[in-house]
Every structure is written in structure tokens, then in C-alpha cells.
């Protein structure tokens, strides 16, 4: 039987070390690489195509979730993190397991068993990531940056730079002061995860940064448009109309 090829991604050396130590006791697993940040992590996963990844969530450059958004065919993930504000989301992602630091050897081996079962059963673990990643991230925090991939380049967009967001089938187009970016996320995701004090859904297909709205005018009978600071005009739906009206008053 082939060994399970494993990668550890964590920004702390000692955190990687303890996983390595535990892992070395199991012959069925083979550590093939380690990374200390999200950028290197993506590179390793796409190049080496591991079976299993131990993934920390809070890391420099890209966090664990942002990394997964960018990988088309993610391997089996075991999250390791110090704090469980992300636990719910991690389980939604159908990570095999979720290890809260510090964790015991026994607990760690349980995780390995689960991963092993999943891999040997050859079940289709490629869950629909996009749908799961579209859920609310955490109840406490709103998005402050969005990660997008254009070609091989990874861009981090500050939500402050967004002007408006447009629905495009399964994707959304982010119009920002730094250019336009296509992102595989739903309007619902952005509506839930952007701070409602800063962003407003004015139409089925549009979310606008509130401070970009300049004015609203009648377009046709019972149909309105808002004008943005950059001159762009966007349609407003009925429910959007009352929200914008309240805002402008």
C-alpha cells in the first residue's frame, strides 16, 4: 500500500515540529514537505498533490481558508489552530478533522485514523468546496480583505478599495480602485460577509460600497438608478430603493 503523502503548513516551527514528531510514529504516513506561510503552501499543494494537509488557519500572507479558495482540487485537510472561532466553518468545509492546539498524541492519532479511512475508502471527498466556502466566515468579524487569483498571480484586495460588486453567473466581478477582479463567490456570500455599515445590496446583481453612492435619480417610471462617485450608474431594485433613500436622507 502506498504511504499517505502529507504536508504541514503552519507558521510556527514548534507547531510543525510536534506534528512531525507524532506523525513519524505512524509508518503509513510520509511527510513530504512543510511550509510556513500560505503562499508557499499553495505552491506545495499544487506541485506535489499531497493526500493529506495539516493546515493552520492564521498565517502571514494568506490564511488557511483563503488558501483553500485558490486551490482547485484540494486534498484532505486537517485544520490545526489555536482558537475555535473558525471551528464551525471548518466542519462545514468537511475537513476531516479539526485539532485545537495544544492537542494530545491520542487525539492526533484519532485524526489520522479518520483521514486514513477516508482515503482508503476512496470516497469522493471532493466536496463542493465553493458552496461551503460561500458561507458566513465568523459571526464576529467581517471580511477585511479578499484574495483573488488572476493567472498565476495572487492578489489581496483591501475591501476598502472596492467600488461595487456585480453578479456574473456563478461568479462575481469586483470593481475596485486597483482594477477589476473575477471571484468565484456568490452575491449572498458578500452580502453576509461584508460589513453592512460599509456595503449595501441595492439590486439582485449589485452590491455597492456605501460611501461611493453620490445620488439616486428616476430612470423610468418606478425605476431608479444610483450614480457613484466615479460617474458609473447602476440600477436599483425596489427593496434597494428604500434602503438607498433612507441612506441619502
Amino acid at each position: 500500500m502506498n504511504k499517505i503523502r502529507t504536508i504541514i503548513i503552519d507558521d510556527e516551527l514548534l507547531a510543525r515540529e510536534i506534528i512531525k514528531t507524532y506523525l513519524s510514529k505512524k509508518n503509513e504516513f510520509e511527510l513530504i514537505a512543510e511550509a510556513s506561510n500560505g503562499f508557499d503552501g499553495i505552491k506545495l499543494i499544487t506541485e506535489l498533490k499531497p493526500d493529506l494537509v495539516f493546515l493552520d488557519i492564521q498565517m502571514p500572507k494568506l490564511n488557511g481558508f483563503e488558501m483553500l479558495e485558490l486551490i482547485e482540487d484540494p486534498p484532505i485537510i486537517i485544520f490545526t489552530t489555536a482558537f475555535d472561532q473558525y471551528a464551525i466553518k471548518a466542519f462545514e468545509i468537511n475537513a476531516v478533522d479539526y485539532l485545537l492546539k495544544p492537542f494530545s498524541e491520542e487525539r492526533f492519532f484519532e485524526s489520522l485514523e479518520r483521514a486514513q479511512k477516508l482515503i482508503s475508502s476512496q470516497s469522493n471527498h471532493k466536496k463542493d468546496f465553493t458552496q461551503i466556502l460561500n458561507s458566513k466566515i465568523s459571526s464576529e468579524e467581517y471580511l477585511h480583505r479578499i484574495v483573488v487569483k488572476s493567472g498565476s498571480k495572487i492578489n489581496l484586495i483591501d475591501v476598502e478599495d472596492i467600488i461595487y460588486i456585480e453578479a456574473q453567473d456563478d461568479y462575481t466581478m469586483l470593481y475596485t480602485s486597483k482594477g477589476n477582479f473575477l471571484k468565484q463567490k456568490t452575491m449572498k456570500f458578500f452580502e453576509e460577509n461584508l460589513n453592512p455599515n460599509d456595503f449595501m445590496r441595492i439590486h439582485r446583481s449589485y452590491i455597492v460600497k456605501i460611501d461611493q453612492i453620490k445620488e439616486m435619480e428616476m430612470f423610468e417610471k418606478e425605476s431608479y438608478k444610483v450614480t457613484l462617485a466615479n460617474g458609473k450608474k447602476l440600477p436599483v431594485s425596489k427593496s434597494g430603493y428604500s434602503k438607498v433613500k433612507e441612506l441619502l436622507n
Binding site: 503562499f39 489555536a82 483591501d158
Partner: protein, 349 residues
């Protein structure tokens, strides 16, 4: 501080009313004891008292620039003595010039005017003394009120600083990651695991037993901060380095308490946590003119997008420095290219 007579309507009204009484008393005196004609008595009273009314407002400025803190008593008395003579002199001189223009044919009044100059001069000096005393009282009262306000504000700020520090330390991310490091070290390096446990304990104990002291020695602040950095150093090993450059006079310097901790936390949070390059955190302290300048600087990844709410710690320090030393701009923040730098200037006097 603004002139209290003209900046406050109520005070101005009271001031005007008092002068009205003085003017009426002045008039009655001329009418009944000096047998001056009604018309002349009114003109005399209006002109003399009106002019002192205006001069009296100006006396505030002689008080402002002769503050009790900057001059010693003899110098202060001398200054006011000269100012009193000048004020009273101007008063008599201008009043008489105007009156001569208006009442040039009331001979009995004019002779009274000439004879009364010396008395009026002395009264002018008396007015001066009374007004100066009142002005000093106003300043004293205001300073007292300000002091009370400032002290209560400082108290709440130090509480806030402590709370921030505590919040940071019981921040689950920091605490559980530190415990995870200890857990890892128990396998590979038990001695270091013990060190780390002790450091983490002293660090937590430090904040839990913090007292309300507004000030402490810089060296104590530095040691507390280093303890924190050593814990992070265990976690991040070769990802950052701490460098210090201290002049000898810095160590015993008394500084506001808890001013370094938030700066170190910032450097770790925005520098080390967000960067994949090695971060150098540099603490320096040296004399610069009339100040001791304390700087904390670190490099950071300019591409990382800062989370909102950053800079609360620095704002707290800024406000406390202003309240403690009564000066603006004692805390400066510089951000250029990839270096973030916070400078704190402690006035030496």
C-alpha cells in the same frame, strides 16, 4: 486660556454691572460732596469709568504673561508695580484729555479735576490691584479644575491600557499558541519548555497584579516588554530579532507606565505575524535636546492589509502623554516604505 471677561457672557455682564455701580458712586460723590454740576458729574463719571472699564479688560494680559510658575515673587511684584503705574497713568492722562475737550467752560469742575489727579491716580492703582487679584484667582481656579479633570481622565486611560494589555494576553490565539509551543518543547527540549512556562507565568502575573501607578522606570518597562518578546521568540524563533540601543541616562528615566508593551505587541502583530521576511524590532533611547527620545521600529510587509482597529494602543499612549506633560506631539508615528516607527519624547524638565 482666553480672557475670562470677554470670553464668558455672564462674567462680562457682571463686570459691566460692577463698573456701572462704580460710575454711579463716582457721580454721586461729585454731585453731593464736591458740588459739581449734574452735567459735568455725569460726563466725568462716564469718561473716567469707561476708560478703566476698557483698561481693566486688558489687565488680564499682564496677568497671563506674569504667571506664578515662571517668575519669582520680587520679579512679579516689580512687574505689576510698573504695570499698575503705567495703567493708572494712561487712565488719568487720556480721561483728562477727553474731558478737557468736552467740558472746557466749567471752571470750578476743571479746578477740581486738576486737584483730584493724584487721588484718582491712587484709586487707579487700587483698581489695578483688585483686578489682578481676581484674575489670579480665576487662573488658579481653572488650573485646579483642569487638574481634577486631567487626573480622572488619566486614571481611566491607564485602566484602558491595562485592559488592552490584559485583553491581548488572554487573547486565545496568543495563549494557546504559546501553550502549544510548550507542548512541543516538552518532547524535544524539556529545559526550554520549563523556561517558557515560567516566562509565560511571570508575564501573565505581571499584568494581573498591575497597580494604578501612572509612572514607572523605563528599565522596568523594557524588562516587562522583553519578557513578552522572549515568549514570542520561542514561538517564532528565527522570524524576528530584537535589538536595543540605550544610552545610560535612559535606564533610570521615569516614564508613563505601560508605554512600551503596546508598541511591542504592534510590532509582533503587524510585523512578525504578517510577514514572511525576518523582522527586526529595534528599541532605542537617547537624549535629544530637552527630551529623551524612545523609539520602537520594525520592518513590515507593505502588502499586508492591516485589520481595522489597529492603532488603539498608540492612541492611548498619545492621549496619556498629552495629559501627563501638557504638550502635543510627544508621540509621532512614521510609516515609510517598509519601516514602521513610533517615537515617544519624554520632556526632561
Amino acid at each position: 486660556m482666553n480672557n475670562p471677561i470677554i470670553s464668558n457672557k455672564k462674567v462680562f455682564a457682571t463686570y459691566s454691572l460692577i463698573w456701572l455701580f462704580i460710575a454711579i458712586a463716582n457721580m454721586c460723590l461729585l454731585l453731593f460732596s464736591q458740588k459739581i454740576s449734574f452735567y459735568s458729574a455725569i460726563i466725568d463719571s462716564i469718561i473716567f469709568n469707561h476708560i478703566y472699564f476698557i483698561l481693566g479688560i486688558g489687565i488680564w494680559y499682564t496677568v497671563r504673561f506674569n504667571s506664578l510658575e515662571t517668575y519669582n515673587a520680587p520679579k512679579l511684584v516689580l512687574n505689576h508695580f510698573v504695570a499698575a503705574i503705567i495703567t493708572s497713568g494712561i487712565w488719568i492722562f487720556t480721561s483728562q484729555i477727553i474731558i478737557y475737550q468736552v467740558l472746557n467752560n466749567d471752571k470750578s469742575y476743571l479746578s477740581f479735576l486738576n486737584n483730584s489727579s493724584i487721588w484718582r491716580f491712587l484709586i487707579g492703582i487700587l483698581f489695578y490691584i483688585v483686578l489682578v487679584a481676581i484674575d489670579y484667582l480665576i487662573i488658579y481656579y481653572n488650573n485646579f479644575q483642569e487638574k481634577v479633570l486631567r487626573e480622572s481622565e488619566l486614571k481611566s486611560l491607564i485602566k484602558e491600557a491595562e485592559l488592552n494589555a490584559l485583553k491581548y494576553q488572554i487573547n486565545p490565539h496568543f495563549i494557546f499558541n504559546s501553550l502549544n509551543s510548550i507542548s512541543a518543547l516538552t518532547l524535544s527540549n524539556p529545559k526550554l519548555a520549563q523556561d517558557m512556562t515560567i516566562k509565560l507565568s511571570s508575564f501573565l502575573r505581571n499584568t494581573l497584579t498591575k497597580n494604578d501607578n501612572q509612572k514607572s522606570k523605563l528599565i522596568d518597562e523594557i524588562n516587562a516588554g522583553k519578557l513578552y518578546l522572549e515568549i514570542e521568540k520561542v514561538r517564532f524563533n528565527d522570524k524576528f530579532e530584537f535589538v536595543e540601543e540605550l544610552q545610560d541616562e535612559c535606564k533610570e528615566l521615569i516614564v508613563p507606565s505601560m508605554i512600551l508593551q503596546p508598541l511591542f505587541e504592534n510590532a509582533i502583530k503587524h510585523g512578525v505575524y504578517e510577514s514572511i521576511e525576518k523582522v527586526i524590532i529595534k528599541l532605542s533611547c537617547r537624549k535629544e535636546n530637552d527630551f529623551i527620545k524612545i523609539s520602537v521600529e520594525n520592518n513590515f510587509d507593505p502588502q499586508s492589509i492591516p485589520k481595522k482597529g489597529a492603532g488603539i494602543g498608540i492612541k492611548n499612549i498619545q492621549t496619556r502623554m498629552k495629559l501627563l506633560y501638557g504638550q502635543d506631539n510627544l508621540v509621532t508615528v512614521k510609516k515609510n516604505n517598509n519601516i514602521f516607527e513610533v517615537n515617544i519624547y519624554i520632556p526632561l524638565s
